[in-house]
Symmetry: C2
């Protein structure tokens, strides 16, 4: 059957190829954005799972907005303002999709950071938005470039991942957060602040949400995939209450509501006194893995080991030496895969036609949340091996 | 924020008003399409819920297509052809949405039965399809009218609920099934066969799926909301394998995949030797409730009690006397609500601008799956009371 017209050019995704190859038992994957399975809070979830069948109402049709007691808990847990509301979604991915379906007309301009989260790029491509990108510095987006975009285009949304960005791992400075909020207000741009990694901070000080400086014009997306478990597919769309009405109608047509038994299980976890300790534990594990990754990169690549030093999240952005004898990221990723380690070349996090893609420094995204430290040791040895084989 | 342009005319839904009013504790609801909560197979699900946390892989990211062992089981359970594939969705509602997003361009023609399932009407409105409707007889759609539509328009999809239709409760005859499949082949129309009520047959003989006569050009949607529990939000999109590729990509962008723990719970239930007995039990309960409803209608409305006699499902279509002294369905529904019984006026199951809406006989949709027999007795007494008060 012929696809809908705007889908005719759906590109095959190289990252899916890699992720699929990375499931071979012998391959160590630094490619995906997978949390550490062995640190899911399953002991904390067990009691809730055991009791869920005692409440038949959880198995009946529910409200599109979400399970009432969970929504009440979330209002408190995330300190929502009286002007804000929340809707439970199938992961924060669905929240992006619902916003796009509710508010984006074909041709509307959406600004994103480059490189960008692929799942958001996919959604904005489906909604036929015109995507403009802004380059990043270590402090956050290039403010001058951002303001120029806001001046030149009638920008509907700025989509951003200010805490431990995917794919670069960067965290916006406080000044940058304030400035971006000010620009959004000044140019009447709505912010979509995607915050899935925010609670995965293992050093430094937590900074306020960008949207806390412009709550009246911002959606915030929370995910339970990183602090609980992604297989449960639960996330949150938070925003000014009036902004939730249309996404809620779209969700009603799209899947009626998110499943209720797992919403009840999540509620039990949010109410658990042990949740904070669980998240601290996960952060400690990720810190250790990040340090193993950094140590290995320095050890194997020596002076060439240039990467984003991060204070949390799941990723670093590893710059390849800007040297013509050095392999291209894509070629290196393929060679590394043949040697048993999966990594993602930086190029794939740009739209194919993004000018910033061409001018970007060659890089790889490396994940440190999934593989264990001894696997990371082995993975970076293999990566260096692939690098050497391709260097001339 | 301004909605996307094609959403400017999102209509408020009267049925949502009714369903919301119907939650008042004193109101008996014959309005929704809710299964009987007290007959969910919770004892059969308990063991699966208790063991799910023993498998961390269920809590990790999964495949967009669905949980592998569940897909294998489904292939067998639903006797899929070698040419067919399946994808797990968040209820069959999401399957309709994914098909529409994958294949419908604004202006494409979709044919539906009138009256129609509201959730499908919503999806096709979102996708900006041009919806044409075909009237129904007791045997199924009016074949002559259907062929005329297929001749006059380049029809992309026929969406139909051939087993215990929502809202009318009708079940297509075998001849009608063959004829519709033949017409779809002849005019190159793709069929979307929505089969959520199919397994709720309490009398008569099961008939083959319409799509079994044209499997190469049909999607089939299965729901676990009626035979298991709707709160779990699990359904299936089945169709020619090549037709699933694009919906799968849309689902990936939309929510990555359906939650895995509940897919594993569902798998355990499908493998349970007691599932067949559970479904038989539900059918027996619904038969009893249907009989209570029919008896009460005859008793209270006497010769005026004209309704679709059904062999399964959840609904009947209750024709109001075509008499000018008789109340309008909408007025009757409101009066009934004030007397403590919720029913849905037939008009709401038509598009506002559907010519068939004006020519349709006045009717109510009455649900018999949710209320218990003694509640049904009371509900129909209240309905008659409202009817008498409004009759002049």
């Amino acid at each position: 059957m012929r696809n809908a017209k705007h889908l005719q050019n759906l590109e095959p995704s190289y990252i899916r190829e890699i992720l699929s190859a990375a499931t071979h038992s012998d391959t160590i994957s630094l490619a995906g954005g997978l949390p550490a399975s062995e640190h899911f809070p399953l002991p904390l979830l067990r009691t809730a799972f055991n009791s869920v069948t005692a409440t038949p109402a959880l198995f009946q049709y529910g409200e599109t907005r979400g399970y009432g007691p969970l929504l009440d808990c979330i209002t408190e847990h995330y300190s929502l303002l009286p002007s804000q509301g929340a809707m439970v979604c199938n992961g924060s991915q669905q929240a992006i999709d619902l916003i796009a379906r509710a508010y984006i007309d074909p041709g509307d301009t959406v600004v994103m950071e480059a490189p960008s989260y692929l799942g958001a790029l996919q959604v904005f491509a489906l909604s036929q938005a015109q995507v403009k990108t802004v380059p990043q510095s270590a402090q956050g987006p290039d403010l001058e470039a951002l303001e120029t975009l806001f001046q030149r285009h009638s920008v509907k949304f700025l989509y951003a991942v200010p805490d431990f960005h995917n794919p670069t791992g960067l965290c916006w400075s406080l000044d940058c957060r304030r400035s971006v909020a000010r620009l959004c207000r000044q140019y009447n741009v709505s912010l979509i602040e995607d915050a899935p990694y925010r609670q995965l901070r293992f050093s430094g000080e937590a900074l306020p949400l960008v949207s806390s400086f412009c709550p009246e014009r911002a959606f915030v997306l929370y995910s339970f995939s990183k602090i609980v478990a992604p297989g449960m597919r639960l996330g949150l769309l938070v925003g000014p209450s009036s902004w939730l009405t249309t996404p809620e109608k779209i969700k009603q047509a799209s899947d009626l509501h998110s499943n209720q038994p797992l919403q009840a299980v999540l509620l039990a976890l949010l109410n658990s006194a042990q949740l904070a300790a669980h998240i601290e534990g996960v952060c400690a594990v990720y810190r250790q893995r990040y340090e193993a990754l950094a140590r290995n990169l320095r050890q194997h690549f020596g002076q060439c080991a240039r990467f984003s030093e991060v204070e949390g999240g799941m990723f670093i952005w590893f710059y390849l030496p800007a040297d013509r004898r050095c392999p291209e990221p894509m070629a290196l990723a393929r060679e590394a895969l043949s040697k048993g380690v999966a990594v993602v070349p930086g190029d794939v996090f740009y739209r194919t036609d993004d000018p910033l893609r061409l001018s970007s420094a060659p890089a790889l995204r490396l994940n440190f949340s999934h593989a264990q430290p001894e696997q990371i040791d082995c993975a970076i040895a293999r990566l260096k091996n692939a690098f050497d084989d391709l260097s001339t």
